[in-house]
Symmetry: C2
Subunit: 234 residues, 2 copies
DNA sequence: TTTTGTTGATATGTTCTACATAAGGACGAT
DNA sequence: ATCGTCCTTATGTAGAACATATCAACAAAA
């Protein structure tokens, strides 16, 4: 009987298809030639011939780059380099059900780190208008402690915080992160029962934003998230 | 003469190809059916027929999912759902030369936020072994203040910090972020001259890790990165 | 009985051809 | 200068054919 650990001793060969190779080559090509957004690319047939692959294989690779937003193509005009969406690939993959548990844990921690690091940029950028809007969000929370409402308010409050940074990538990023976060929390709850709630409320955080400083706010945020910080001790 | 602002008044129509639609449909299908990693997918021909598209179009969509790591396929065995790499899409797009300036700025800030938020998880996870290795990195920095060395040491030191969190996604993430960061810094330098250096050195940070607490460390980190924090006041 | 070699079936990988379709350019009419 | 018309062209889509890896079943050998 062969060792059951054999699969850990010998690395599995990764069968790479032509589309994989062509995709890589194209990205190298674009980088090497220092194409800028708006620049025109060679025609499909020319690329296919240069790479010595069928137009089909080439198009599979191009389709990938198109998904990432790296290229745009229209009939007759041809293909041009575009400005990719940095979070596009993320968005498609951010599904708690298909990611492995280690990655989910990593993303869970990522959100905690972001919230803790947010303070400085928040204080540098927030406006009075922002604070008023945040206050309205807090006011709506009155006594709605049932589960579904609670999650909704969490999203509204923290989402607003990210939006206040003026950093749109942040905002979108945490919008994608939150479902994962909630998933991890609810899975945790199934095992260890309902998580406790931090002593610092959203209203407390709002007050800290108004009258405090970044460090005070950060301390408040840590306390607010303290039930979740329990998870990282190991 | 028509208004030149017309293009801002009317939204451009986005010509979506069949591959775009099929890709979306497939992702919805996978989600709706609650496929788990390892589950087998229908055959290409069946999918193509069900979607009423040619095998070509279907394969372009499948190629995208394959790139994201969502599916794997082998001859005869067919296709199975896989665990995607959360950062795969990121990696391909993370190129300072093709991203727009706003996104670059956003990513620049993202790194700052990460460094500031890292403290708590760092103190919770770091080991004596880690500290020793970090000390070795700091020791190697002696008097090497020339530009290329400096960057190298920055990467070594901060990279080690991320690795010490035990969060592999962090580590990879910042490895991708750093080139963007360095690019933004060097572009900035072209305009405003060489950036100043923070008063807190790597060795100071190391000492804070050994003897301090998360808040002290965070303050030190903020001071260390203070030249970069200047950029976010606006 | 267990292992190894052979053979056939099958799903993906790749190529080729053909045609549809949108978009640009040239040209002329209004 | 604006609007049609026609032609050209590069991408989008379809379909058929073949190559190739791999599974499964069975047979041969140890």
């Amino acid at each position: 009987m062969a060792s059951k650990n054999l699969s850990r001793d010998i690395e599995k060969i990764a069968p790479s298809t032509m589309a994989d190779v062509v995709e890589l080559r194209l990205r190298e090509y674009l980088k090497r030639k220092a194409f800028k957004p708006g620049d025109a690319l060679p025609k499909e047939l020319e690329l296919a011939e240069a790479l010595d692959v069928s137009r089909n294989v080439l198009r599979e690779a191009l389709s990938r780059l198109r998904m990432l937003g790296m290229i745009e193509s229209r009939k007759k005009r041809g293909m041009i380099l575009a400005e990719p969406d940095i979070l596009g690939g993320f968005e498609r993959v951010m599904d708690p059900l298909i990611l492995d548990v280690k990655t989910l844990q990593d993303l869970f921690e990522l959100r905690l780190v972001l919230e803790m690091g947010l303070a400085d940029i928040l204080f540098a950028r927030m406006t009075d208008k922002d604070l008023k809007e945040l206050e309205q969000i807090v006011n709506k929370e009155v006594n709605k402690v049932q589960k579904p409402f609670k999650v909704k308010h969490e999203i509204a409050f923290h989402g607003k915080l990210y939006q206040m940074t003026g950093n749109d990538t942040f905002r979108r990023f945490q919008n994608m992160l939150l479902p994962v976060f909630e998933y991890v929390v609810s899975e945790e709850a199934k095992i260890n029962g309902q998580a406790k709630v931090g002593k610092v409320t959203h209203r407390d955080l709002l007050d800290l934003l108004k009258k405090g400083n970044p460090d005070d706010f950060r301390q408040g945020m840590k306390e607010h998230l303290s039930p979740h910080f329990e998870r990282i001790r190991k």
